[in-house]
């Protein structure tokens, strides 16, 4: 009997996230993903110090230089250094996706947790609203919001956050439904804890690892959506460097200077790949079905 209770407790043990991280560390895919992502993050953070040129400074004499030589990854049609622009562009990608995912995680997570805890008709209606949100493809929803609000950095964050709220609400609600029936929640009520305290001091820490793992997976989607919006001209406005914008500009000279589209495209690919590899590793590490392998 006690073993049954132990098994039931296992997925929400206190060290869940820590042990998941430990397991993920042993996984070469996750490690590779972490290295790729960390390199890009380092490049973005250190951009002002390591970028060889000003990313927006035009130098018409040196336009369309090929990679190598003075310019590591060549220059674009205005003579701007591609490598420096990539470093600065990483900042936009990371800030927008991190901000959007953090906002979605907080709002969506809270909606899902509260909805699952309250239950009944409230839960039904909230989750149906979430399903409606979920039925829009991320890009279309993002497009609508940016078109309505205008292509500013904050609006991009809002747009992408909106597309990710529903999945976070779902992922937070499911374990809340299970947890609220557990004896320690009733025991907490019997100790005179308010519903707010039960929700944020007792249920939240129990579902946090699942929500965080979900966050790492959705970061990749957010990067992709940001790049797509920039590509179609709804991202942060030029001359600010964005990867999606650079890829689009590169298409104008795809035959003379293919590196202009290829390098930012590769950067997007690498960041999305790295984030996905981390997310997959974390998800596998927290998945009890894969735990015994």
């Amino acid at each position: 009997m006690s073993t049954a209770a132990e098994v039931e407790l296992a997925p929400t043990r206190p060290s869940g996230l820590k042990r998941a991280l430990a397991r993920a560390r042993g996984n070469p895919t996750t490690l590779a993903g972490a290295i790729i992502t960390l390199l890009i993050v380092a490049g973005a953070v250190l951009a002002p110090w390591i970028a060889p040129f000003d990313p927006t400074e035009q130098n018409i004499i040196d336009r369309l230089q090929s990679p190598g030589g003075d310019y590591l990854l060549g220059t674009d049609q205005f003579g701007r250094d591609v490598f420096s622009r990539l470093l600065y562009g990483a900042r936009i990608s990371l800030v927008v996706s991190l901000g959007a995912i953090a906002a979605a995680m907080v709002t969506g997570g809270t909606i899902g947790m509260v909805s699952g805890y309250i239950g009944g008709r409230f839960d039904l209606i909230t989750m149906q609203v979430m399903d409606v949100l979920l039925s829009f493809p991320s890009l279309i929803l993002g497009l609508m919001v940016v078109a309505l609000l205008g292509p500013e950095l904050e609006n991009l964050v809002i747009a992408i956050a909106l597309t990710a709220i529903a999945p976070f609400a779902r992922i937070a609600r499911a374990p809340t439904l299970v947890l609220k029936e557990r004896a320690f929640i009733e025991a907490g009520r019997a100790m005179g804890f308010s519903h707010l305290r039960i929700l944020f001091a007792h249920i939240l820490p129990n579902i946090l690892s699942e929500v965080l793992v979900m966050g790492s997976l959705w970061m990749a989607t957010a990067v992709r959506v940001e790049a797509s919006l920039s590509f179609i001209g709804l991202g942060v406005k030029p001359p600010t460097a964005t990867w999606g914008g650079m890829t689009r500009d590169g298409f104008e000279n795809i035959l003379d200077a293919p590196w202009l589209a290829v390098f930012p495209g590769l950067a997007i690919l690498l960041l999305v790949l790295g984030l996905n590899m981390i997310g997959d590793g974390l998800r596998d590490a927290t998945d009890p079905k894969l735990r015994n392998e």
């Binding site: 557990r182 004896a183 804890f193």
Partner: protein, 322 residues
């Protein structure tokens, strides 16, 4: 002396198929300070519902308390607004539960769980509360208390977890402790230790303990008085000695007859024939009548608790006038 807890005419209803049916009806109890009253009965007879009603944890849409008064140290807490109830729960009255495995938050250290109610009800700082938690751990005899404060529930055995639960419940020195089958999930040696601990603590704090159990052996060990419940009603109430020596209600007698005896190895286990009537099909008269060997004319009328002696009362016209 005012009772620590006085319940009068409690009625708690649940919704079944669109209609409300009482799970507990006309339940009255007085619980004096430094007294243990055992509430005995089989599963589903309304013992836990009684405790949850007292705690104010039965709320619509699930269930509702529709009648009666619940006086905690003389103050009627039935129907208090939620916010006021929250300030009473865990402070003046506390509850311990059956499942020590799941009644603690798995991601919070046990020290913080004991400290939490002190911080809420007493406004202590975390450091002060943890200091008090350490004293409580020593009081419930958890070895190396200081070191174990920072551990998580899964690092504790079942018996130790139940001690943590008791420490949580005792944190604010409540006047009334509701213990809902606190030893059912423990093996017998641990059960004996926990029962001993509870008796000690009750005497030291002068608490009133409402001890819910279906185990008559536990009743004999811990209770001063006994209330036997059947189908949502108290059918017999009295001092533990009188109930064990002269059980009056046919149901109480059947319960005692069902205890297997060590000195009769060949006996067949005796069981009570029939089953408890469902909530939505309660007979108007005696609720035990359909299963009762003494059934006779008059059993179809509603029964009242009638005194047999000064403290011993029974809800059975046959037993009361025997």
């Amino acid at each position: 002396m005012t009772p620590a807890l006085a319940i009068a005419g409690l009625r708690t209803e649940f919704r079944i198929g669109g209609a409300w049916h009482p799970a507990v009806s006309d339940l009255s109890l007085d619980l004096m300070p430094n007294e243990t009253l055992a509430l005995v009965g089989e599963s589903g007879c309304g013992k836990s519902v009684t405790a949850m009603s007292v705690m104010g944890l039965i709320r619509p849409p699930v269930g509702r308390v529709t009648g009666g008064r619940i006086l905690l140290e003389g103050r009627d807490i039935a129907g208090l607004p939620e916010a006021e109830l929250e300030s009473v729960r865990g402070d003046r009255m506390a509850m311990i539960f059956q499942e020590p495995m799941t009644a603690l938050n798995p991601v919070m250290t046990v020290g913080d769980q004991v400290a939490e109610s002190l911080r809420i009800h007493r406004g202590l700082s975390r450091t002060e509360a943890l200091g008090r938690a350490r004293a409580l751990f020593e009081e419930v005899k958890i070895p190396s208390a200081a070191a174990r404060l920072g551990e998580y529930p899964h690092q504790f055995s079942g018996g130790m977890r139940q001690r943590v639960m008791i420490a949580v419940a005792l944190a604010c020195d409540p006047a009334v402790l509701l213990a809902d089958e606190p030893t059912t999930a423990l093996d017998v040696t641990i059960q004996a230790q926990v029962l001993g601990l509870l008796s000690d603590l009750r005497a030291r704090h002068g608490m009133a303990v409402l001890f819910i159990t279906h185990n008559l052996g536990v009743v004999a060990q811990i209770a001063d008085r006994v209330a036997v419940m059947y189908a949502g009603q108290i059918v017999e109430q009295g001092p533990v000695g009188a109930i064990f020596a002269r059980p009056a209600h046919p149901y109480t007698r059947a319960l005692f007859a069902a205890i297997p005896r060590l000195d009769r190895p060949d006996q067949a286990l005796s069981a009570i024939g029939g089953r408890v009537p469902p909530l939505d099909a309660m007979p108007d008269g005696c609720r035990f009548a359909p299963r009762c060997p003494l059934r006779r004319a008059g059993c179809e009328l509603p029964q009242t608790l009638e005194p047999l002696s000064e403290e011993h009362a029974v809800r059975c016209h046959v037993a009361a006038h025997a």
